[in-house]
């Protein structure tokens, strides 16, 4: 692990964090993040680039705690059915979007 790699990783993480802060909409963010993850996972790129894009950008861009926070709003209000529904719908939607990303990436190459 060299210095340049570490700096690039940190810079992409900062960029992703500010982008997340700017959008401030967890649902939207998770969809875009899953699409990008699927898109880049199917590409053949070098290992360090892959690490920077996947663990640096995509992982910092999407956040699980934001997802839990989003669901927590339903728990306070007492909408348990809505909570269960949203939880499954978000995960399934993200899986579909990721599948689309992988397929698109394979089409382009």
């Amino acid at each position: 692990m060299n210095k340049k790699y570490l700096y690039t990783l940190l810079l992409t993480a900062y960029f992703a964090t500010f982008l997340r802060f700017y959008f401030n909409n967890n649902f939207f963010i998770s969809i875009i993040g899953s699409f990008l993850y699927g898109f880049f996972v199917a590409r053949t790129i070098s290992k360090s680039k892959r690490e920077i894009i996947l663990t640096g950008f995509c992982s910092c861009f999407t956040s699980f705690s934001g997802f839990v926070h989003f669901l927590y709003q339903f728990i306070i209000q007492g909408y348990y059915l809505k909570l269960f529904l949203y939880l499954n719908v978000i995960v399934i939607l993200n899986l579909i979007v990721m599948y689309i990303g992988v397929q698109l990436s394979r089409k382009i190459t």
């Binding site: 964090t17 993040g33 993850y37 663990t55 956040s63 699980f64 993200n94 990721m98």
Partner: protein, 120 residues
């Protein structure tokens, strides 16, 4: 947003990234957590979020540091989805269901644990 807020976010995200990379490195080296560090990271971040919600912090800078910076960079949703996606591709539907339930139940339990720790 002022310069203060920017610095808080930067410091928080640096910490989050370092902790996540550290957990990833340890789990790959020791083979302790049976191949996925994402579960550990997400459950840990749920615990922290529970504590954070329980304390009911109103300080804006602390929210930027902890919620936006630290927890945002520590936890990852897309890797979780990718793990599920991988399991679908390998047609391991039972382990898919188990993993899905495991993550959600564990993060819910740890969220509650964190929430109730603060009210003691």
């Amino acid at each position: 947003m002022e310069l203060d807020g920017v610095i808080y976010i930067l410091v928080g995200s640096t910490f989050g990234l370092i902790v996540r990379m550290f957990i990833k490195y340890i789990s790959e080296r020791e083979k302790l957590f049976s191949s996925n560090h994402i579960l550990i990271v997400n459950v840990l971040s749920s615990l922290f979020l529970g504590i954070f919600e329980g304390l009911n912090i109103a300080n804006k800078n602390l929210i930027l540091f902890f919620y936006v910076g630290f927890l945002g960079c520590l936890s990852t949703f897309s890797s979780f989805i990718y793990h599920l996606f991988n399991l679908i591709q390998e047609r391991k539907y039972l382990s898919l269901l188990l993993y899905y339930a495991e993550v959600l139940v564990l993060s819910f339990l740890f969220f509650c644990l964190g929430y109730f720790i603060t009210s003691i």
